[in-house]
């Protein structure tokens, strides 16, 4: 069986599955059970400064988006950082770490944006023997309004400054957690790198309103007739997270900066995708909140089976494997031609491909009187929409035409690689001539 052991910025864990800083990692009782269930590491829910702890609302703090069969696809929350006394958290962290030396235990931190506050909290956690710190520059609600969380994460200069303080006042490995509530994720990542961060983790939650109560006319989750934006997470945010991870992994400025991937990881496959795009490990929250700690078992068995099948002996062989294949649109091969193909044996004749193709744009699928659906190669632009709407996995596939074959739609032979930068329709090509 493949070896899932990972070494992330010098922090070893038996597998790349860490629980993200969130409600499931708020206390010793939970973290111990998470480790027993098999989680490789835990990022303890964010600690704040010494003093009276923050308070949470006493009404609903989560909102949800469901898919078919009421499957939870997206969750948002308005919970704040830990509302338990600092001393209790520190005592518990130390106790857990003493008993689980082979697991990663990271402490998430969020204190006011001044050097003394950071120096103080770093000194206080020194004694816990935790493996590292994660700077919470991500939370988009509650703390941001107090000048913390995403209020810092949205200003690259602040990120750099705080990271520098942390590296100056602590020898612990430092992970900077990034907010996605920003237009270019590379900027905060670059700032973290400049500040001396050992790694970045992303994404934190996305500003969101999950739904509106149409009787009370207020957003959900609703407290006493009012609602506010909360941080969105779960399977729904994975595509956004994957893109941001890839952007950092392939940027010239941040290339090689270790990444802890976060955002909707629910199965082994999600984790493998994050890792292929450059994440050295993944952090999970919503899946554990939805299904319990036990889901890590499927992640472990699935990833190790996948790695075995691919002949990979360590996770390092997977990390970053897809990064070279992430490119910009202008470099895509415009001479690669595919056609959709419907497997008539697998087809259940629902007609969804037909509706999608007919009413979207291309009218490239025919329908017979006895409900046989076939692709018309002379119309098909290989847009993939039929594949995406088909309820039967593998029923419709995209078949790439070999070089030299004639594209029935254009009448042209499939040629060599050529992209937009040299295309005759590109005005800038003409301008250069």
């Amino acid at each position: 069986m493949a070896d899932l052991t990972t070494n992330f910025i010098g922090i070893k864990s038996p597998n790349p599955f860490w629980l993200a800083s969130a409600p499931p990692t708020d206390k010793e009782y939970n973290v111990r059970r998470a480790f027993e269930a098999g989680w490789g590491g835990v990022v303890w829910k964010t600690l704040g400064s010494e003093g009276p702890p923050v308070v949470n609302v006493n009404g609903p703090r989560y909102g949800a988006v469901w898919g078919a069969d009421r499957r939870l696809l997206g969750l948002n929350n308005i919970e704040l950082i830990t509302d338990r006394p600092l001393e209790v958290n520190l005592r518990e962290i130390k106790s857990v770490k003493r008993d689980y030396k082979d697991r990663a235990l990271i402490i998430s931190l969020m204190v006011p944006c001044d050097e003394e506050s950071w120096k103080d909290i770093l000194k206080r956690i020194e004694d816990t023997e935790a493996d590292g710190v994660e700077l919470n520059f991500g939370c988009p609600h509650g703390m941001a309004e107090r000048g913390m969380g995403s209020a810092v994460g949205q200003v690259p200069e602040y990120i750099e400054m705080v990271t520098r303080w942390v590296k100056q006042h602590s020898r612990m490995p430092c992970i900077v957690k990034l907010t996605p509530n920003i237009s270019d994720i590379r900027k905060p990542a670059e700032a973290a790198k400049r500040g001396g961060a050992d790694a970045v983790s992303l994404i934190n939650t996305i500003n969101s309103i999950t739904s509106v109560n149409l009787d009370s006319f207020a957003p959900e989750p609703m407290i006493d007739g009012k609602g506010t934006h909360g941080g969105y997470c779960g399977p729904a945010v994975k595509p956004i997270a994957l893109n941001m991870v890839a952007e950092i992994a392939r940027s010239m400025e941040t290339r090689g900066l270790p990444i802890s991937g976060i955002g909707g990881v629910t199965t082994w496959r999600d984790a493998a995708e994050f890792m292929a795009l450059g994440a050295g490990n993944v952090q999970v929250c919503t899946a554990a909140m939805t299904y319990g700690f036990k889901i890590v078992q499927e992640m472990i068995s699935g990833l190790s089976q996948y790695m075995d099948e691919k002949g990979m002996v360590s996770t390092a062989e997977l990390v970053g494997r897809a990064v070279p294949n992430v490119t910009d649109w202008q470099f895509l091969n415009l001479n690669a031609v595919s056609k959709a193909k419907i497997d008539q044996d697998a087809c259940i004749s629902c007609g969804r491909c037909y509706a999608a193709c007919e009413d979207t744009s291309h009218q490239a699928i025919s329908m017979s009187e006895d409900r046989v659906f076939e692709v018309m190669d002379d119309e098909c632009v290989a847009c993939n929409l039929c594949v995406n709407v088909c309820p039967v996995e593998g029923c419709i596939t995209m078949e790439e035409l070999p070089k030299g074959a004639v594209d029935a739609r254009t009448g042209k032979k499939v040629g060599d690689y050529a992209n937009w930068t040299t295309h005759p329709n590109n005005p800038s090509v003409a301008a250069a001539e």
Binding site: W268, R269, K294, S301, G394
Partner: protein, 440 residues
Amino acid sequence: MSNTPLTPGIVSGRLVAEAYAHNFDDLEPVLDGHEAHVAADRCYFCHDAPCMTACPTSIDIPLFIRQIATGTPEAAAKTIWDQNILGGMCARVCPTEQLCEEVCVREVAEGKPVEIGRLQRFATDRVMAAGVHPFTRAAPTGKRVAVVGAGPAGLAAAHRLALHGHDVVMMDRREKPGGLNEYGIASYKAPHDFAQAEVEWLLKIGGITVQTGVELGRDVTLDGLRAEYDAVFLGIGLGGVNALRAAGEDIAGVRDAVDFIAELRQQPDKAKLAIGRDVVVIGGGMTAVDAAVQSRLLGAQNVTIVYRRGQEKMSASVHEQDHAQQVGVRIICNAAPVEVIGKGGKVSAVEFAYTQDGPEGLKLLDDTFTLAADQVFKAIGQTLVAPEGMAGPKLDVQPLARVWAGGDCAQGGEDLTVTAVAEGRDAAEAIHINLMGAVR
């Protein structure tokens, strides 16, 4: 085809060849990839899942279904086999509607459970078809264990013992290993010689020597085994059958249902099997249903199950009863045989008395009826044939050092393959602890 379903007497070839092939093929074929995906998607991954609690072998059902859902049926199969090495057979024969699927929260909510049994088969069939046996033996311990009986309990015990590095000699009185999986299950539930294929696959663990045609009490003795081996596991099942205790039960044409089922399983050409035109099956359990259904599938014109108590007390599941009725078996309840009537030395009818079940027991009423019958199957329970020096009704091995028992012959046995597997497995773990404790 010389005979038809109407031909009187016990004759073979009542049906055309294609009918036999159709009747004895897989009753419920394996799910294809799409079906499995849709079925797996319905599982809620319940916490402390009721299905898992209901499974006698405690298979981690939510986990294996999630593994199917995430495209790793191979991992799912491993999850199943970790708890139940005969997961392939159990997927076919378990009364899931009384076990895991009965308590599935979607059964409770929608009357339609997640298809756990069929998903289990999907995963295990796939890995078995690939010839993969995902277990490796521990280093040899030098300990030798005798496993008597190569049925579900013995097979499960042998595999777990071999897994732990012990050398196992598994003996069985029959010609082939498999026990009830090979000889006692309706053919259409495990066609294509699945029982033998599963045994062969199971033996891939290594370290298990199979000795067939070896009977306890005839070829070996318990004392001899205890002297020769470090431990003995008895999974000998129930070798005897209950008598009808009605007049005329020795008349030609009256037969034990278990023998009929075994013969049927071993005959590859079902057209050669003789069956009556008017078949009466006496009993209310799975054996009765299997005998009755297969009588119909062999072309019997009239098949009737007669059970002495109310239908709700039949130990055959409702699902099985429904299936029997769908293939045309008639079920009569609250009637007990009083006499098997012969004509010319052969059975011609059975006389029954209606019964009344009360607090003081079952009472035969004066009202009687007679069913025409040219063949009668007795399916009124099996009994332990205890080894010398031991007594029934179930084996008590407590007083014997280094002897364990499991399956139908043992105290907890309840006539279910899956229970036998659990007991064999657990006995093996107990034996392992016992043997290795002695080493230290």
